[in-house]
């Protein structure tokens, strides 16, 4: 049967690889190419400018601001999302009252899972619009009404440069927690019950069980989530474009790289320059993914 193997494999791979080459590899390669040019994006003519675009990037204050804001999201989003979803997944799985029946999840487990997962089925612009309405900065806005009712005055939310990026971060977290909760939940269900019960018998409290048993057993899943979330934090284009003032404001407090790419490439007629930003973002993403996977590598536990 060996002789028919290669045509068989090639037969299966040729279509997906062609599609991949046309829609993924080719645009990437072109972006690298155009990053060395002064292409406007609207005329077929362009000239080569060497590394000028990259040199200009280093002194572009808006780009550096965007980089800084992306860095904030890069740190904040994975930490908050992973911790929250782990916490909720743990509650759903083993948070129930430990009676004679042993370890079980909280009551209404299925409902909570559904409720948490719901944002995942909404598209990003819908989420952005919902939260823009909630964070209406007038005193009659939804969030401000609650604050007012609690006697806490009102906040500017997205119109306050000190709060805007945190608001974006919060909406990102809100939109992501559900998915990772379900992911962690599935991974936790795969952990044999008797491990938890053994820990319980040995006198471990909930917190100890979580840190010493659950976390190590979920490490692979957490690691992968971390990388996904980091990549999400480097994009956030849709959310920022719909929700923030300007967009990217106020006072560029929510400016991010993807927004700069879109503005330069499409509105300013600087497609070459935008390509250079894309290339930088590509390498940042690559480096971060590799570094994350490296530093979080641990010994795998078999069970």
């Amino acid at each position: 049967m060996q002789h028919g193997r290669y045509p068989f494999i090639v037969g299966f791979l040729v279509l997906p690889l062609t599609v991949y080459a046309i829609f993924v590899i080719s645009p990437f390669a072109q972006a690298f190419h155009y990053s060395l040019t002064d292409w406007t994006g609207v005329a077929p003519e362009f000239g080569y400018v060497g590394m000028t675009n990259f040199e200009n990037l280093m002194s572009d204050s808006l780009f550096l601001t965007a980089l800084r804001n992306n860095a904030v999201l890069l740190v904040g989003l994975p930490i908050v999302t992973v911790l929250l979803s782990l916490f909720f997944a743990f509650l759903l799985n083993v948070g129930g009252s430990s009676g004679s029946a042993g370890v079980k999840g909280i009551r209404g487990n299925g409902f909570y899972k559904l409720a948490f997962f719901l944002p995942q089925v909404l598209s990003v612009p819908v989420i952005a619009v919902i939260w823009s309405v909630i964070m209406d900065p007038t005193p009659s806005g939804l969030a401000n009404s609650v604050l007012g009712w609690l006697g806490l005055g009102s906040a500017g939310w997205l119109s306050d440069p000190a709060l805007a990026l945190l608001c974006v971060l919060w909406v990102l977290v809100w939109g992501s927690v559900g998915f990772y909760l379900v992911l962690f939940n599935a991974a936790m269900s795969a952990i044999p019950r008797d491990i938890f019960e053994a820990a319980l018998i040995d006198g471990a409290g909930r917190f100890t069980t979580f840190v010493k048993v659950t976390m190590p057993l979920l490490w692979d899943t957490i690691q992968t989530s971390w990388v996904y979330l980091a990549i999400l934090a480097l994009d956030v284009y849709a959310l920022v474009a719909v929700m923030t003032a300007g967009p990217g404001g106020p006072d560029n407090s929510t400016q991010v790289i993807s927004l700069q790419i879109a503005q330069n490439g499409f509105q300013f007629g600087r497609a070459g320059y935008a390509s250079a930003m894309g290339v930088v973002l590509f390498f940042i993403t690559l480096v971060i993914a590799v570094v994350m996977l490296r530093i979080t590598r641990r010994e795998r536990i078999e069970y």
Binding site: Y34, F46, S159, A238, A245, G249, I261
Partner: protein, 474 residues
């Protein structure tokens, strides 16, 4: 309506969720190479027929004509009328009509491949950068259009039948390239019916304006709202205050990127004035974070008395404004020692119609624009959209809504004193930087001096950028 829609249609920008890097190179991956190929051509295409006074560009009726219209606030009904005018004269011509909102996504590959339409209405949030198109030789020189006889005006050349702002805004590198068709008037809008009922009258001087604001505030209403999410709107008030105080030279200096243009005394006074409105509590609370729909709705609900906007406002709020609401424009008040009179304002020509240089039927495109500029074509536009055009006197005898009537009256009363600025279109990267500073100023987070410094820094950066094509005004 091109401008406000620019913002609402931003929403479409995110639709793809644009995976970061794919943004840069992926737009036309299908074409294999995004920038395509194609050579240069200087001869006007089409025009195979004899040039006569009725057919000055020699349009050959057998040549098809393709028209692409931005289907925004103005819709595309008016274009169908203009196409019918064209069809009447060239009955054999096959006309293709396309009304779209994502101009850039659809047109960019065509321009890059050298097969653009014959007439393009380049407007909306997804418009292509017009100054880049002009500078890279993608547009047809419209000199022969402006020199051609206006339809039904006994041999008067078209350029003499247009509002001067049309000629001024058409020019790129000394040549007319863009036909900005609609006139947009900026000012402070209020409900005439409400003001009549309360006995209020828009103020002419700053002092009176503050007194009026105090009175309005006393009546339990915010004197002013603005579309704070997009500082562009409140910037119109700032610019108008400054230019009416210092004269059009203030705008000329800004557009010409002169050193210290933004630090002009009039600009500082205007910035102080804006801060005063904020600090005295005359702004609707939280208006800094509202978008145009939210803030304009609040204004329609009488939560605020004035709102800055352009003349598309009435049409935009048509479905929201309660019955009896009389949308009316007032000029911004005058600061002490103003050079210009009260009843003038910023009048801008917008909705950029172009004939691409590589169009297959440039002659047909030019003839189509000539028909748009006939009184008949322009009047129909105003009838359908409630917006005035650059064609002088085309609104006479039309039955107008209160907003349109007051806007047209302001265009007429301002006359030669009406002014305009161009830096935001000429130097697109500078625009968001200045807007950001205006947003901070309007929120009262920076001082007038800091605002002038920030705006000037953005201008200086643009002036120092070797890749930016510089332009000047007289």
């Amino acid at each position: 309506m091109s401008t406000p829609n620019k913002y609402s249609r931003r929403i479409f920008l995110q639709r793809a969720g644009l995976a970061s890097i794919a943004v840069a190179g992926g737009t036309s991956a299908l074409a294999g190479c995004a920038s395509g190929g194609g050579g240069e051509e200087d001869v006007v295409s089409g025009g195979g027929a004899e040039q006569t006074s009725a057919n000055p560009f020699g349009v050959d009726a057998v040549d098809p004509l393709s028209v692409v219209i931005f289907n925004g606030g103005y819709g595309d009904e008016y274009a169908k009328f203009h196409e019918s005018l064209y069809q009447d004269q060239f009955s054999d011509a096959e006309i293709s009509h396309e009304a779209i909102t994502d101009i850039r996504q659809q047109m960019q590959p065509l321009f890059n491949a050298g097969s653009p339409p014959d007439v393009l209405d380049n407007a909306g949030a997804e418009a292509m950068p017009i100054s880049t198109l002009a500078d890279t030789g993608q547009l047809t020189d419209l000199t022969q259009l402006f020199d051609a006889d206006a339809i039904g005006q006994d041999g008067t050349p078209i350029r003499d039948t247009l509002n001067p702002v049309a000629i001024e805004s058409a020019e790129y590198a000394g040549k007319p390239m863009v036909l900005n068709y609609a006139l947009q008037v900026y000012g402070l809008w209020y409900d005439r019916a409400l003001f009549d009922q309360k006995g209020w009258e828009p103020a002419e001087t700053w002092e009176d304006f503050l007194a009026l604001c105090e009175e309005i505030k006393g009546a339990g209403m915010a004197p002013m709202a603005h579309q704070g999410k997009y500082p562009y709107y409140i910037q119109q008030v700032l610019m108008d205050l400054a230019v009416k105080h210092g004269g059009p030279e203030v705008a000329y200096a800004i557009d010409s990127l002169e050193p210290d243009a933004w630090k002009h005394e009039s600009m500082k006074m205007a910035a102080e004035a804006l801060l005063e409105i904020k600090s005295k509590g005359y702004m609707l609370e939280g208006t800094e974070g509202l978008d145009h729909i939210q803030s304009q709705t609040q204004w329609n609900e009488h939560k605020a008395a004035f709102i800055p906007c352009g003349s598309w406002l009435e049409n935009e709020q048509k479905k929201i404004a309660p019955a009896g609401f009389e949308t009316t424009i007032a000029p911004t008040p005058l600061l002490d020692g103003a050079a210009l009179p009260f009843d003038c304002t910023r009048v801008e020509a917008a909705e950029a119609f172009v004939v691409p240089a590589k169009a297959a039927n440039q002659a047909g495109g030019l003839e189509y624009l000539r028909m748009m500029l006939s009184k008949e074509g322009a009047a129909e536009f105003t009838k359908l959209t409630a917006a005035p055009t650059i064609v002088d006197g085309a609104t006479e005898g039309l039955d107008l809504t209160p907003g349109a009537a007051s806007a047209i009256a302001l265009i007429d009363s301002g006359g030669e004193d009406n002014w305009n600025y161009y830096y935001a279109i000429w130097y697109s990267p500078m625009d968001p930087k200045v807007q950001s500073a205006v947003g901070e100023l309007a929120a009262g987070r920076i001082t007038a001096d800091e605002f002038c410094d920030q705006a000037q820094a953005a201008a200086d950066e643009t002036a120092d950028d070797p890749t930016t094509q510089k332009r000047t005004r007289p």
